[in-house]
Symmetry: C2
Subunit: 342 residues, 2 copies
């Protein structure tokens, strides 16, 4: 079906990001019934932009390059209140979740991102108890947080209900995170949610956002970081998705400068390999608030490799060595990041 | 020109690797005169395989995925005795060198590979004096070796003269390595060259090869590693290109097992980020022969960041921290590599 679909849609334009306020066209149910295939040309603008039968990731955030995955079958496509949602079965990376034309996860390599964005902060503080996840609607970060037996409360605020539903339907090994009874799901705007959080509530906040074009734009701005700092206890930690040093040094510079103004404990940049993300890697900001010192580079809360629930597989990627290594930067990035805002 | 060229060649088949023994069709000079553009459909099978105006890297070594770069202009295409050679100006990665359809280097990210494959071995031993480079015809590894002031002799054996000539013509900042008076260039088969090297000649051997399909196939096999071990002094070191843990674990397993049989000092696997290589990373085998112990993970010969020659830019990627970090592996790879052949 994918092949015919792509061939049919060959004339379609390259993807353009939809602004947040644009009205939703389809509910998930409707999408499931009528768009789950290639009936409508305009509903699948991404498959068409490359050779027939391939999904190609083209974005102004990484001009001049595109990573493509061979499509076996389109499993879902819909448009939520916030973004285009696509799920397809790839030839060699398992099932793939795409939001607004950008790959969010593949079954083959999601372990790297989910494990690193979660355990880098949680293994850096003793006995994390209350954790907030902003974004992360697929449930993968929840799955990782739930490995920590000290955690008592896991709040998640995801703006897009369709992402949660799609994850539960197509990515059971990722959405398994929702099965943990400590999890409280809030569908809503993370920025608004944080404003209502009493000061000093959380030990850790994890911001698992998409790129800073579209629904996640505010999650890269200063007021949002200020809300996080307020929501954290003294010596609390935050981990945020922070783009690629190969592609987005200008964005990273700004984020680092903002964080240095707001987080008075420590401010660090780490990264991990993720084959299906642009440039094959992604970075994280790891910051702590004023209070008990947090030395992110030397994890003090090693994770027990025994899985807390039978339904969750053992860690595939994270270990204490790769934790420490992830803070080592190539010289070109080190020069910029270590001096910025100091 | 690239756009028209690609559109014209749209019907061309996907690339197929040429066997080594296949006869050369064009000399570099002829290629330069007659093929430097898109006159001949069959001479540019790679540009056509994706959307018009883009180069797409498709190979049986990474089925189901393809990285594409937007082509501004094709600068050179020819066929040597060993492989298809293509140089193009990309939109966002500078000039790009492609052999048999596989990206070898881009101006934007070549620093990562060249610096790591060179300084990981040379910074792990005191005062390297004699260094052999197998492959590496572009000159980038030579450029990096030449930063080490202790080195007295740099031999290089590259099989394909066209690669050397193309590098000198189109990649002056890479081929600058040839300007060092310590460099002796041998055009020929690295396997044969090594057989004639007196035992114990070199302090370090660096194998900068393409993938194990085509001209470089023998450089991944056991007899070749045995020749290297013989050519090294006791406690000498070798660094070889060793593929990606995300894509080629089966190849890596075999290489590691072979190396453990042959190199009785130490056997290690390291990796680095390289955005334009498949999966966004590449690995290296770092091994030493029996003799004075080599602890690759703790570099003892830090490189002076002062450039040895005015024509060479300072290091962009390598530093002692990233050296140490490069040996830390994700758990899924660590489990396989650390147990293999033990």
């Amino acid at each position: 079906m994918a092949d015919e679909c792509a061939a049919f849609m060959k004339g379609t334009e390259l993807p353009v990001k939809r602004p947040r306020e644009e009205e939703a066209e389809t509910e998930m149910e409707a999408a499931n019934n009528s768009n789950n295939g290639c009936e409508k040309e305009e509903s699948s603008p991404y498959i068409s932009s490359v050779l027939p039968g391939w999904f190609s990731e083209i974005s102004p955030l990484w001009p001049g390059e595109a990573h493509s995955l061979k499509v076996e079958k389109i499993l879902f496509q819909g448009k939520s209140d916030y973004q285009n949602v696509l799920v397809f079965q790839s030839s060699t990376y398992g099932k793939v979740l795409v939001l607004d034309g950008v790959i969010q996860l593949t079954e083959r390599d999601e372990c790297a991102y989910q494990e690193m964005i979660t355990h880098l902060p949680l293994c850096s503080i003793p006995n994390p108890k209350k954790v907030l996840v902003i974004g992360g609607g697929d449930g993968g970060v929840l799955r990782e947080v739930s490995r920590h037996s000290s955690v008592e409360q896991i709040d998640i605020c995801e703006i897009d209900k369709m992402v949660v539903e799609v994850a539960k339907q197509f990515f059971p090994d990722v959405a398994v995170g929702y099965e943990d009874p400590r999890v409280n799901l809030h569908i809503g705007d993370g920025v608004a949610f944080l404003k209502n959080v009493p000061a000093g509530t959380y030990d850790a906040v994890i911001v698992d956002s998409s790129d800073p074009i579209g629904p996640a734009q505010e999650l890269f701005e200063k007021p949002f970081f200020e809300s996080i700092a307020k929501a954290l206890r003294p010596g609390g930690v935050v981990s945020t998705q922070a783009e690629s040093i190969w592609l987005h040094m200008h964005i990273i510079e700004e984020i680092v400068a903002n964080c240095r103004q707001i987080f008075k404990g420590s401010v660090n940049y780490a990264w991990t390999t993720v084959p299906t993300y642009p440039s094959g890697m992604i970075g994280f900001m790891l910051c702590s608030t004023e209070g008990p010192a947090v030395d992110f580079k030397n994890p003090i809360n090693p994770i027990d490799d025994e899985s807390p629930a039978k339904s969750i597989e053992p860690l595939k990627f994270y270990n204490s060595e790769i934790h420490q290594a992830s803070f080592c930067l190539p010289s070109f990035a080190k020069r910029v990041i270590e001096t910025k805002g100091k």
